[in-house]
């Protein structure tokens, strides 16, 4: 029996790994029934795979049987792979015994669609109900919403899960139509919207009645595959921005496409996954969520794609040198946050510390800003006097020459004559 279980785990963990979401944060579920498990506000990554991604949840599919034939997915109907399915008890046993040994922070349960959406959703629901009600499990649960499942099932699942998610898959409708003709963005939008409305409603009720149960306390997330279809970074980030705004998503994940088939519509097998591009998209995402940038400032018609050799924050600063240099001792917090080389932590420290006296270079370095990068954009108490105004291209080459980037060593930009 245990051999078959190992085999199943191998197949179904392998099939689930392309879902990048592994966060376990945002849940405040307390262990108040003397059971097992207690939410950790910021989440815990229990280990990291050799590709450097965090492992905090047991990420598995209930089954990799699927009635759909989406070109970008390993579990597509036409793909000749081994198929398997867990029973409800097997998933519960795995989760509980891994959790008790502190291997994991919780369960991430997804599934291929077998028979129809409701049938699949109902199975997922049985797993989470058994965990919560029979095993007194209070750890994290991330559950996939199955597009097309009935509202009642989704609502019930939301009472037990901490986070729910549905993947957009392709950043644009046309991209999705190309690779998965049976699907459309509206299939995703409908349940996202439904869950979001329920979250708001439960929260409102909770204000009046204390005993209202939790409903998806860690919110919703989604994922887009990057590089399978020819979208620009602008299209990707504008879609992400719209979803953040419309559905109050906690996270949008960007997953660089890893070639898995010989389909002529997509990059061929053996193509390197676009890791650097993925990294730049995440940086942009962070700038939008934590640094007060508007997506139009970072990506617009004049700059539809992100720079590969420098990060989006530096690239914005170089395009907008009129805002710099910024005086560290007088500028407001919002502007300090926009300086390349200064992050949220350092910006906070700077704003607090300068009330006690002007800040000097050595203090800024100690606080932990990346001074070699920031020095081109700031003035502080003892900044060296500088007569010359450098051009954006010059500053860029100074920074690149000092940087440790494994991607590009020297700036190869051509001289601009006119």
């Amino acid at each position: 029996m245990s051999d078959r279980l190992r085999e199943k785990l191998n197949i179904l963990a392998d099939a689930a790994k392309y879902d990048v979401s592994c966060s376990s944060s945002g849940s405040n579920r307390k262990n108040d029934n003397k059971g097992v498990g207690n939410g950790h506000k910021s989440g815990i990554c229990h280990t990291y795979t050799e590709d450097g991604r965090c492992v905090s949840l047991l990420k598995i599919l209930l089954t990799n049987h699927c009635i759909f034939d989406c070109a970008y997915c390993v579990s597509r109907k036409s793909n000749d792979i081994e198929r398997a399915a867990f029973t409800v008890d097997e998933v519960v046993e795995l989760t509980m015994s891994f959790y008790r040994r502190n291997y994991i922070e919780g369960l991430f349960l997804s599934s291929g669609i077998f028979k129809n959406a409701d049938f699949t959703m109902e199975r997922l629901l049985r797993v989470v109900k058994k965990l919560r009600l029979e095993e007194k499990y209070n750890g994290y649960i991330h559950l996939k919403t199955i597009p097309g499942a009935s509202d009642e099932l989704i609502k019930e699942a939301g009472l037990y899960a901490d986070r729910m998610s549905i993947n957009l898959e392709m950043p644009t409708e046309s991209g999705l139509k190309l690779l998965a003709p049976e699907k459309s963005h509206t299939d995703v939008i409908k349940p996202l919207d439904y869950v979001q409305k329920q979250i708001v409603q439960f929260k409102e009720e909770k204000k009046l009645i204390k005993s209202v149960p939790k409903f998806v306390p860690a919110g919703q997330s989604t994922q887009m595959v990057i590089g399978a279809t020819p979208e620009t970074d602008k299209e990707i980030m504008h879609t992400a921005d719209a979803f953040y705004k419309n559905f109050a998503l906690r996270r949008v994940y960007y997953s660089g496409y890893i070639p898995i088939s010989n389909d002529s519509r997509m990059p061929i097998l053996g193509t390197q996954p676009p890791l650097l591009r993925e990294n730049r998209l995440y940086q942009t995402d962070w700038l939008m969520r934590f640094y007060g940038f508007n997506v139009h400032e970072l990506l617009n018609d004049a700059n539809p794609n992100l720079d590969v050799d420098i990060d989006p924050k530096l690239s914005w600063a170089l395009r907008n040198l009129q805002h710099f240099p910024v005086d560290i001792n007088t500028a407001d917090y919002k502007m300090i946050l926009r300086i390349p080389g200064i992050g949220v932590g350092s910006a906070n420290k700077i704003v607090q510390a300068r009330k006690f006296g002007k800040l000097y270079i050595h203090q800024l370095k100690n606080i932990g800003i990346s001074y070699n990068r920031a020095k081109h954009f700031i003035r502080c108490a003892d900044s060296p006097y500088q007569l010359k105004d450098y051009q954006a291209t010059q500053i860029k080459s100074f920074i690149l020459a000092e940087s440790q980037s494994k991607y590009i060593k020297t700036d190869t930009q051509q001289l601009i004559l006119f």
């Binding site: 963990a13 097992v36 050799e50 990420k59 420290k349």
Partner: protein
């Protein structure tokens, strides 16, 4: 002037009290175990005093918020001689200045304490992440650790809340004490030094018969969830530094 104390929190707080009593000018704080007398500075031996240390601690609570009190405690748990010295200066600085002085990140001691506390909190978080329990045949969940800092007092609550229905033991091999949870409360335990070597790893005969299966399942899972074409060893080692590999079930061969 050099103050010498015994390395306890009580001694550290007493030192602050004594300094304000005497005001001897610039003073550095050293631990008696590692103290090397020098020819030019006079020294003073601090005798830990519960009353004096309580007064300092209560006074500190009036000046600092919860977050900063925790930082002070964390910095103490780092057990580093330079952290003790920074703490000593930080506390005198706080008492000498009006409320709110801890926000001055331009001050070296304030910054030092906040940075040391961050390191200790990171180690605490890593222990919460990297501890791997093994179930013994009599139903205990056991793990031995040797963290960089003395983080057991910080992680007790986390594990008590999380594993409320299982008995567990976490043993610190470096500091020779451990935590034991008996389904009701967490208690500190120590074992004879001679016996301690048996505590590194329970013998396989003592393990629960299902333990091996779950070890294999977990290793399988760790392997299957990796995407080979994205291999990035540098990032992997950054997140899981090699000194922690000995804890991790998934990193053990065989």
């Amino acid at each position: 002037m050099i103050y010498i104390f015994d390395g306890s929190l009580e001694g550290l707080l007493t030192a602050v009290f004594e300094w304000f009593e005497r005001k001897p000018g610039y003073t550095s704080l050293k631990v008696d175990k590692t103290y090397q007398p020098d020819a030019f500075t006079s020294s003073f031996l601090i005798v830990s005093d519960r009353q004096k240390s309580d007064r300092v601690w209560n006074g500190l609570q009036k000046k600092l918020g919860k977050q900063w009190m925790r930082r002070v405690y964390c910095a103490y748990l780092s057990e580093k001689p330079e952290a003790f010295d920074s703490l000593f200066h930080f506390m005198s600085y706080i008492f000498l200045n009006p409320v709110g002085a801890e926000k001055n990140f331009g001050n070296k001691d304030v910054l030092d304490i906040s940075q040391i506390a961050t390191k200790v909190e990171r180690e605490k978080h890593r222990m919460e992440a990297f501890i791997r329990f093994q179930q013994t045949s009599d139903g205990f969940y056991y793990c031995a650790i040797d963290p960089d800092f003395n983080v057991l007092p910080l992680i007790a609550k986390h594990f008590k809340d999380r594993y409320a229905d299982q008995q567990w033991i976490i043993y610190d091999l470096k500091r020779h004490y451990g935590l034991f949870y008996d389904l009701e409360k967490v208690t500190e335990i120590t074992v004879e030094l001679g016996e301690e070597k048996n505590f590194k790893q329970p013998a396989s005969a003592q393990l629960n018969e299902k333990e091996e299966l779950y070890t294999h399942l977990w290793k399988d899972y760790f392997k299957s969830t990796n995407i080979v074409s994205r291999k990035n060893t540098k990032l992997h080692v950054k997140h899981v530094p090699k000194r922690y590999w000995k804890y991790l079930t998934e990193k053990q061969l065989s």
